[in-house]
C-alpha cells in the first residue's frame, strides 16, 4: 500500500535533518535561555538582572569605552568622543568608525539620555570611581531610561576583577580570561622587577602634565598609578589627592632622575626653556613624552590602556633589567589588547616621538 510520495527512509532522513536543524538553532537560543535573567553584581553593590547577552553596549565614559572595546568590540555602539584618524589607525576600522555619543558621567555629562534609548541600548557600562555620587547617577539613569547600568571600579589593582565581572556581563568570559591572564602576567613581571630593585635603584620620576609641565599627578593619586607599578618613585609627594599645581622651584629642588611629559607642545620646548633645560634629567636626555595613541599610555583615560604604558615605561626606566625587545613587545601588546596588529613602522614612529630631538 502506498502512504505518500516519500519513501519511509527519506521521511526518516527528513525527521533526522529536522531534529539536527532544531538542535543547531536551539543551541544559541538555549544558551541565551540558559543565560536568561542572570543576576550581575557591579562594584557599587548594585544588583542588575540581565535577560540576555547585551548586543548594544553604551560606554558612559572613556575608560568604559576602552574596556568594552578590548573585551567585546562588536558589542560597542559608539565612543564618548569621535576618534581621530591617527587614533583609528591602530584600532579595528569598523569599530573605530562608530558614532560619537558624548559622556554620560564624570566631569559633566554631554550625552543625551534619549540618545541612549534611540540607539536601542541593552546595557550602559561605566568604569571609574564607585563613590556614592556615581552610584546614584547610575541608579538615576537606569530609572529614567529603563536600561540596565553597571558601574565598575577603575583602579589599577582591581583591573583583573573588573575584567572578569564586566566580561561576565557582556557574555565575553573567554576573552575576559585571556585579558586577565595577560594583565596578571604583566603585573607579575613588574613585581619581579620591583623585587630586584634596591631602594636607591628606584628612579625618581616627575610626571610633568599640561602645557606648562607644572600640573603634576601627586604620588598615590589615580593618574600616577603606573609609576608605582614600574618601580619608580613619584617625586611629587605633595599630599594632594590627585592633580595639583607645583612650582618650578619645587622641580629644581626635587631634581628628578626622569621627566615624563604629557603635552607635546611643552615637550618640544623643554630643551629651550631656561629652567627645564638646566635640569640634569633634561641635559642627559632622560625626558620622554608619553604617547597617546590610540589611547593615552598613562592616564588619559585611566583604564586598560595603561598596561601599554607599563610595558613601555619599564623598558625606558630599567633598560638593563628588561629583557624583552621593546618594539616587538609593543606590537604584541597592541594586538593582544586592541585586536589589531600594528605595523613595525607605526610602532617605530610612535617610539620616535617619545624621545627628545637630538
Amino acid at each position: 500500500m502506498r502512504t505518500s510520495g516519500y519513501s519511509t527512509r527519506s521521511r526518516r532522513g527528513f525527521v533526522r535533518a529536522g531534529l539536527v536543524a532544531t538542535a543547531l538553532l536551539a543551541g544559541p537560543c538555549a544558551r541565551d535561555a540558559l543565560a536568561s535573567t542572570r543576576r550581575i553584581s557591579d562594584d557599587a553593590e548594585r544588583r542588575i538582572d540581565l535577560s540576555r547577552i547585551p548586543r548594544r553596549v553604551f560606554p558612559a565614559g572613556a575608560p568604559a569605552a576602552v574596556f568594552v572595546y578590548c573585551l567585546a568590540p562588536d558589542q560597542l555602539v559608539g565612543w564618548p568622543r569621535a576618534l581621530r584618524a591617527d587614533e583609528a589607525a591602530l584600532l579595528l576600522p569598523e569599530v573605530a568608525d562608530l558614532p560619537e555619543l558624548g559622556r554620560l558621567t564624570g566631569r559633566g555629562s554631554t550625552a543625551k539620555l534619549e540618545g541612549v534609548l534611540a540607539l536601542g541600548t541593552d546595557l550602559v557600562v561605566d568604569v571609574g570611581s564607585i563613590a556614592p555620587t556615581y552610584a546614584s547617577l547610575a541608579d538615576q539613569v537606569q530609572a529614567q531610561t529603563g536600561v540596565p547600568y553597571l558601574l565598575f571600579d577603575g583602579r589599577f589593582e582591581h583591573t583583573t576583577r573588573t575584567l572578569q565581572r564586566l566580561g561576565a556581563a557582556l557574555g565575553a568570559e573567554r576573552r575576559a580570561e585571556v585579558l586577565a591572564t595577560g594583565v596578571q602576567s604583566i603585573l607579575d613581571e613588574m613585581a619581579e622587577l620591583r623585587a630586584g630593585l634596591a631602594a636607591d635603584d628606584r628612579p625618581r620620576v616627575l610626571f610633568a602634565r599640561g602645557p606648562t609641565g607644572l600640573a603634576t599627578a601627586a604620588a598615590g593619586g589615580l593618574n600616577a598609578e603606573v609609576f608605582d607599578v614600574v618601580g619608580a618613585v613619584n617625586v611629587a609627594q605633595t599630599g594632594a589627592p590627585n592633580l595639583s599645581l607645583i612650582s618650578l622651584e619645587q622641580v629644581v629642588d626635587w631634581q628628578p632622575d626622569w621627566i615624563v611629559a604629557s603635552d607635546a607642545a611643552f615637550f618640544s620646548q623643554l630643551t629651550r626653556h631656561p629652567v627645564w633645560s638646566s635640569l640634569p634629567a633634561v641635559r642627559a636626555g632622560r625626558a620622554v613624552l608619553a604617547p597617546r595613541l590610540p589611547f593615552g599610555w598613562f592616564d588619559a583615560p585611566p583604564a586598560l590602556n595603561r598596561f601599554v604604558g607599563v610595558v613601555w615605561l619599564a623598558a625606558v626606566l630599567h633598560p638593563a633589567r628588561i629583557r624583552y625587545p621593546l618594539a616587538e613587545r609593543l606590537v604584541a601588546t597592541f594586538e593582544w589588547l586592541y585586536h589589531r596588529r600594528p605595523t613595525q613602522a607605526q610602532i617605530d614612529s610612535l617610539l620616535a616621538q617619545t624621545r627628545l630631538p637630538r
Binding site: T110, P211, L214, A215, T238, S247, S278
Partner: protein, 342 residues
C-alpha cells in the same frame, strides 16, 4: 579732628611704602622650597656675574635668577598693574566699585587662553592669545558701548561690558564642555585659577614692557583725571575733552590688565579693594591715589604669592587667596565709608 587723623602725610606714606616694598621683596627672595638662605641671596644679588661661564649645575644661581627673582618681580608688577587699572576704571566710571574686568578684559583673555589650550598650542602662543583676547574684548565693548544710543555713555559701556563678558564666559564654558576631560580640562581649570609658578625672565620682560606702556597714559593724566568725577557737562565746561580722556584711561588700564592676565591668569579683587583703601589713606585725588595704590597693590600681590607658594606643598592659586582676603576687607572698608553726594 577726624579729617586730619585719617589723612596721613602723602609724602611720608609713599616713602614708607617704597621702603616696605623693597624689604618685602628681599624677604620673599628668601622664601621657597629650595633651601636658599637670605645671606646667600644677598650675596648672589650683589655679584650677579659668576666667575667664569655660568655653570648650568649651579642650582642656587638658577633658582634665584631664573625662578624666584622673576616670580617676585612679576607678582609686584601684576599687583601694581591691577591696582592702577582699578584706579583708572573707577575714575572713568565715577564709581568706587568698578573693577579692572568690568569691560570684559579678563573674560576675553581667558577665552584666548582656553582656546589655545584646547587647540594644543605651546605656552608662549597661549599667553599671546590671552593678551590679544583681552585687548580684543575691550575694543569690541568700547565699540558697542559707543554705538548704543543711551544718553549716559558710561552706563552704555558698563552694559556692553556685562553683556559681552557673559557671552565670552558662555563660550569658555562651551569649550570646557568639549575639551578632553583627562588632558585639556585640568589645564584649562588651572589656567583660569591663575598662577605665578611658571614665570620666566622673558615673561617678566613682556609683562613689564606692556605694563609700563599701559601705565603711561594714566600717569600723564593723573591730575586731569580728577575732573572725571564731575558730570559730563561740567567736564566739558572746564575745557576738557571727555571722550579722549575716557578712551586713554580705558586703553591704558586694558593694556596693563591684559598683560597681567596673560602672565598670571585671572586674579580679582586687587583692582577693586586696593584703590578703596588708598583713597581712605590719602584722599580722593587721582594724583595721589594712583602711586599709593600701585605700591599697596604690589605689596598685597607679593604677600599673596609668597603665601600661596609656602603654606602648602602644592600651589594655592593667587586668585583664590585674593578672593578670600578681598571680600571681607571690602566689606570692612565699606562699613567705614561715608556717603558722597553725587
Amino acid at each position: 579732628m577726624g579729617v586730619r587723623a585719617i589723612r596721613l602725610s602723602w609724602g611720608a606714606l609713599t616713602v614708607s611704602l617704597v621702603v616696605l616694598l623693597a624689604v618685602a621683596m628681599l624677604s620673599a627672595l628668601g622664601v621657597g622650597q629650595y633651601p636658599l638662605t637670605l645671606p646667600q641671596v644677598l650675596q648672589m644679588l650683589v655679584s650677579p656675574l659668576a666667575d667664569g661661564p655660568r655653570d648650568a649645575g649651579d642650582l642656587p644661581r638658577t633658582v634665584l635668577w631664573q625662578i624666584r627673582l622673576p616670580r617676585v618681580c612679576a607678582s609686584v608688577a601684576v599687583g601694581a598693574a591691577l591696582a592702577a587699572s582699578g584706579v583708572a576704571l573707577q575714575s572713568v566710571f565715577r564709581n568706587p566699585l568698578a573693577a579692572p574686568d568690568l569691560l570684559g578684559v579678563s573674560a576675553g583673555a581667558a577665552l584666548g587662553a582656553v582656546l589655545g589650550i584646547f587647540l594644543g598650542w605651546n605656552i608662549v602662543t597661549i599667553q599671546a592669545a590671552a593678551f590679544a583676547g583681552g585687548l580684543a574684548a575691550v575694543v569690541v565693548v568700547h565699540a558697542v558701548g559707543t554705538v548704543l544710543p543711551l544718553h549716559d555713555r558710561t552706563l552704555s559701556l558698563v552694559l556692553a561690558g556685562i553683556a559681552i563678558g557673559s557671552m565670552l564666559g558662555a563660550l569658555i564654558a562651551l569649550v570646557k564642555t568639549v575639551a578632553d576631560p583627562y588632558s585639556q580640562l585640568p589645564a584649562i581649570t588651572f589656567w583660569l585659577l591663575g598662577s605665578f609658578a611658571s614665570i620666566t625672565p622673558t615673561d617678566l620682560a613682556l609683562l613689564l614692557g606692556f605694563g609700563v606702556v599701559g601705565i603711561v597714559p594714566l600717569a600723564l593724566m593723573r591730575w586731569r583725571a580728577d575732573a572725571l568725577a564731575l558730570s559730563d557737562d561740567e567736564i566739558h565746561a572746564i575745557g576738557l575733552r571727555l571722550p579722549v580722556m575716557r578712551a586713554a584711561l580705558i586703553a591704558g588700564a586694558t593694556l596693563a590688565t591684559s598683560a597681567s592676565v596673560a602672565a598670571a591668569g585671572i586674579i580679582g579683587w586687587v583692582g577693586l579693594v586696593v584703590p578703596h583703601a588708598a583713597r581712605m589713606l590719602v584722599g580722593a585725588s587721582f594724583s595721589r591715589v594712583l602711586p599709593v595704590s600701585m605700591l599697596m597693590g604690589a605689596l598685597l600681590m607679593l604677600l599673596i604669592d609668597t603665601l600661596g607658594r609656602s603654606i602648602a606643598q602644592s600651589e594655592v592659586p593667587p586668585g583664590v587667596l585674593t578672593a578670600l582676603v578681598g571680600a571681607p576687607v571690602l566689606f570692612a572698608l565699606m562699613l567705614r565709608r561715608r556717603e558722597v553726594p553725587v
